[in-house]
Amino acid sequence: MATKSLKAKGNELAVSNKQLEILNGGIFADGELPFFKDKIQEIGHFPLRPSKLEILQINVGYMCNQVCEHCHVDAGPDRKEIMTRETMLQCLEVIKNTGAHTLDLTGGAPEMNPDFRWFVEEAAKAGIKDFIVRSNLTIIRANKKYYDLPEFFKKHNVHVISSMPHYTRGKTDKQRGDGVFDKSIKALQELNAVGYGMPNSSLRLDLVYNPSGAYLPGDQMALEADFKKALKEDFDIEFHNLFAITNLPIARFLDYLIASENYEDYMYALVEAYNPAAVANVMCTNTISISWDGWLYDCDFNQMLDLKVASKVKHIKDYNEELLNDRNIIISQHCYGCTAGAGSSCQGTVA
């Protein structure tokens, strides 16, 4: 189990250029595997272009109480990148005027941003249809000051999406750290207690599953059925949907793939599972990702690779939805992660 971010360890993969060098080199540069660009060109999707903007995803900071093995953000307690209130005010201006129907707050642990509650209260006033907070669950049990988060989420009708790698303790703790499973179970029970995730409840509670290793997620519906059965039988926990998300070869997951000598096999598996039908709906076509310091990206993964949008508008202070939507999406070989099998996005499968 990791205790420090790659950045704090001075790992060369903390530098996005080094990651891109790996993703663009090796088996791809040798011609052993095709470039993502060539695959989407075959079906007339290059350059990849946005469709209608539906989701504004705001990363309010990379600080987190956990140091998960697979984290593409390389988040952790030692990360100090936190969105300021000034940038939040710029985001609120955008939220009030956007055509997007979904606002998605992520991190790190977004709740650790000192202005998180203020920001949620203000953003909720804009009346966006679906207001998501991606909570890692353990934060709710990390410190007394977070114990009332379920009530706070309920008050602002926040849609909670939480990570849960498996319904067994061993697998969960291996990926996310000792004790994470028990804390997550307790947090889920508390969310249930205020009405989250209950059948027919309008308080949405969805779970995110991502594999604890160098393999792709299985069928989302089958996994959802397994999770529902096990969590209900063992812990009397209810939730709405399970989103199966593919790990993308970025940051700590890339470091793990290389260190465990799984990188080539994993890239082969992604390319082999390439599904042309998933391309039209990849999340970068309907999402704008905003970083803690206000820069704009095609998705959270491009944010971590520091690939800013290919548009005149690159920062939230200059935000212009029409101009932004007229751009080419930046791609590399990590994009195969979103087109494998039934496809993958922050909202689960796409094909």
Binding site: H166, Y167, T168, K171, Y209, P211, G213, Y215, L216, P217, G218, D219, A222, L223, D226, F227, Y268, E272
Partner: protein
């Protein structure tokens, strides 16, 4: 030509058997795909059966493939190991049940 009989990378090339016999290769892969679809048995159950059989036929490619398939389906390591024991129990049982033949022959030949 590799100087060992098994190379994990060869599993990636499995599909290439079709190149030297397109009709039979295609029929095989169509059949294979159909067998593992959800049916009267769930694809999860089929994956565990495949894992047990993979051990019994001692196919390293199949063991790699169905361990990974099991992980993808959320199958636990305890379930995987029990399925291997099912295979082993049938295999040892198949050996031991021949003990009856030995006993029969022994009795027949002995005064």
């Amino acid at each position: 030509m590799a100087n060992s009989y098994y190379d994990p990378k060869d599993l990636r090339k499995f599909g290439r058997i079709t190149e030297w016999s397109e009709e039979l290769g295609t029929k095989f892969f169509d059949y294979y795909g159909k067998v593992f679809e959800e049916g009267a048995l769930s694809s999860r159950e089929k994956s565990l059966i495949a894992l047990a059989v993979a051990h019994v036929v001692k196919c390293p490619y199949c063991i790699d493939a169905y361990t990974k398939d099991g992980l993808q389906k959320g199958i636990t390591k305890e379930e995987m190991m029990e399925s291997v024991h099912v295979g082993a129990a049938i295999e040892s049982g198949a050996t031991l049940v021949h003990g009856v033949q030995m006993m029969n022959k022994y009795e027949k030949l002995s005064m």
